[in-house]
């Protein structure tokens, strides 16, 4: 089973740094370098949350997600943003990804870490539109792909939205 890492463990510190550095790239919409932080076999998924009774045993919509992405589909999303015709982000949103509650866990494979975090995305567009928030939890799998402090890449991400009905006009953003 996975074992929690103390906050002074170098792997936890590296995982935390990975998330903070990533948040910078996502705020700045530097999506091409962000793609490089993902493994080739990345699975990036954001299930649709549903309101169910406590005893139901599930809280996500069976078989449905907001995102269910691999490297190709994420690359296409980024390529679209790089065209001159991605109107929804031109003018761009002002984004702030707040990352907190970071916990890291050691895995059986010494080159992998499970990292949990909480995220609040603030998104502001134009001058009269109300700003929008997405609150979510994330369960990540980081994999060591090189030596040194920037050795980690994101191999799995599960985004657990805290709303059943998103209050954001679209997900032309990453979480």
């Amino acid at each position: 089973m996975r074992k929690p890492l103390p906050f002074n463990d170098i792997r936890h510190l590296q995982a935390h740094q990975f998330l903070v550095d990533e948040a910078y790239l996502l705020d700045a919409q530097q999506y091409r370098p962000w793609l490089d932080t993902l493994t080739e076999d990345i699975h990036y998924v954001m299930p649709v949350r549903v309101t169910t009774a406590r005893g139901t045993g599930f809280g996500t919509s069976p078989g449905m997600a907001h995102f269910d992405e691999d490297k190709y589909s994420l690359s296409q999303r980024v390529a679209r943003m790089e065209t001159e015709h991605a109107w929804t982000e031109d003018p761009p949103s002002r984004l702030r990804h707040f990352i907190t509650n970071v916990r890291s866990f050691e895995c059986e494979d010494p080159d992998e870490l499970v990292v949990e975090s909480a995220e609040l995305l603030f998104r502001s567009r134009g001058d009269v539109n109300e700003s929008a928030l997405v609150s979510c939890g994330r369960e990540d799998l980081l994999r060591r792909c090189a030596d040194g402090p920037h050795a980690w890449k994101l191999a799995r991400r599960k985004i657990i939205a805290d709303e059943a009905v998103l209050r954001m006009q679209n997900l032309a953003v990453f979480l």
């Binding site: 309101t51 009774a53 919509s61 296409q76 999303r77 929804t88 539109n129």
Partner: protein
């Protein structure tokens, strides 16, 4: 300043008062005169496959439990306890034999019958004071299905669903009947947009003019090869009674070739041919039109596209696109906010691999994160915001595309031998369908609800 009467007159001639997309008074009128008597989509039967399965859906402010009862019958019950009005079901989906009100504990079978009433004898003197037998959650005034699509009508005297849909059923089958097993749907994704509900409905009904501009980025990245301006102009738009849609003109070929061109495997094509009438097949096979977006009045839309979903496909640009189907409800929250409910739909008999890829195609293109959809919503939010001001009340939007000033068509309707579907169809840029949709809207709002 426009009065309600000249709003409707303007709509009839294809001039749209801009404020109809953000007007509190008109939204109140829509509640009273439109949503109170049109057939409103709530769910698909495949969302509740097992006895006891339920989903909770709204028609505007009214919450309904859509349940398959223990005898297998699908019902729509008003989600309000007969005693003090509490919602008896506060989850949005699940499986239950009973719904128990959390307030005082009245309980109802999943067919709506009141079965449990705590302290019945002490509190009411038993059946002498309150006869339990025959008491049920209020059933929806009218409830019917077509190809598994479940609709509620709040008007008990509404015309039957199939009459309401009329000839649009011909086109609904393209999306919802691709084998004898019918559709299975997943979702919906739900999110709110600060846009009036009519804009999306109009867009899906007939706006092929926006595709080359709004969705240029999709062509830029090679995700979808069709939206180029020329291809959209050559597609036909059709309108048939309560709905209409857009199509793409496909390269020469017969029915099978054209279905293969958009990515249907042969075994699905075989099953489709078993359930589509010869006339339905001729629209694709002879006329060469492949259905794309559509709207069923007032707020139900469909989309069918065929993007490239895998990297490997990019190396073989001539092949390997894959179709997906999505069902879409524009659920009004207010005059300037809409909850979008977007389902992925696929033929239940389709091969598993196809279902997987088709789902992927849907996610990439439509829905909350879809790359087509992202740019649409940006436009609609902006339009709605601007429509709320005072200047919008002085502006008539020109929605007369395809008509000369004297109302003659710029391009004549397609003759029956070129388009084998019912209703009116034509090629070339036009806003015929948007006009038809808004005329229906105006007709409903212009006619008082009888007391």
């Amino acid at each position: 300043m426009s009065t309600v009467e000249n709003i409707f007159e303007n709509i009839q001639r294809g001039m749209v008062p801009a404020h109809i997309y953000n007007d509190e008074g008109l939204f109140a009128l829509e509640k009273e005169r439109l949503f109170s008597r049109a057939w409103i989509f709530v769910a698909h039967e495949s969302e509740i496959p097992q006895d006891g399965d339920y989903v909770v859906r709204r028609v505007l402010d009214d919450s309904f439990i859509i349940a398959r009862d223990s005898g297998g019958q699908v019902r729509a019950m008003f989600n309000m306890c007969l005693h003090r009005g509490m919602q008896v079901c506060r989850a949005e989906m699940g499986n239950a034999s009973n719904f128990r009100c959390p307030y005082h504990g009245w309980s109802y079978r999943n067919d709506g019958r009141l079965t449990g009433l705590p302290f019945h004898r002490d509190a009411y003197g038993g059946d002498e004071g309150f006869l339990k037998k025959g008491q049920t959650l209020l059933p929806a005034p009218n409830f019917a299905s077509y190809n598994g699509l479940l609709f509620i009508n709040l008007d008990a005297d509404a015309e039957p669903l199939e009459d309401y849909l009329g000839d649009f059923k011909f086109y609904l089958d393209f999306y919802t009947k691709q084998s004898t097993q019918g559709l299975e749907v997943r979702g919906p994704q739900r999110w709110r947009i600060k846009a009036n509900w009519k804009i999306g409905a109009e867009n899906f009904a007939g706006d092929m003019y926006h595709t080359p501009q709004t969705h240029q980025s999709i062509v830029d990245i090679g995700l979808f090869r069709e939206p180029k301006a020329q291809k959209r102009k050559d597609g036909a738009t059709y309108w048939a009674r309560r709905g209409g849609g857009t199509t793409y003109k496909l390269p020469p070929g017969g029915f099978d070739e054209r279905m293969r061109y958009v990515g249907y495997p042969d075994e699905m094509i075989r099953r489709i041919k078993d359930v589509w009438t010869p006339q339905q097949q001729r629209v694709v096979g002879e006329d060469g039109f492949m259905f794309s977006a559509a709207t069923c009045f007032p707020n139900l839309s469909f989309v069918h596209n065929w993007p490239k979903v895998h990297e490997s496909v990019r190396a073989h640009p001539k092949s390997e696109v894959l179709p997906f189907i999505s069902i879409r409800l524009w659920q009004p929250i207010s005059e300037n906010e809409t909850e979008v409910c977007s389902w992925f739909a696929v033929d239940a008999a389709a091969p598993e691999e196809f279902k997987k890829d088709s789902y992927k195609a849907y996610l990439m293109c439509f829905g909350s994160s879809g790359m087509f959809e992202q740019d649409d919503v940006e436009n609609w939010v902006s339009l709605t915001t601007t429509a709320g001001g005072s200047m919008a009340r002085r502006l008539l939007l020109n929605s007369r595309m395809g008509l000369f000033a004297d109302d003659r068509p710029v391009i004549e309707a397609l003759p029956a031998e070129s388009f084998h579907g019912p209703g009116r169809a034509q090629v070339g840029y036009n806003e015929y369908n948007q006009r038809e949709l808004l005329k229906l809207w105006a007709d409903h709002l212009d006619s008082a609800v009888s007391a």
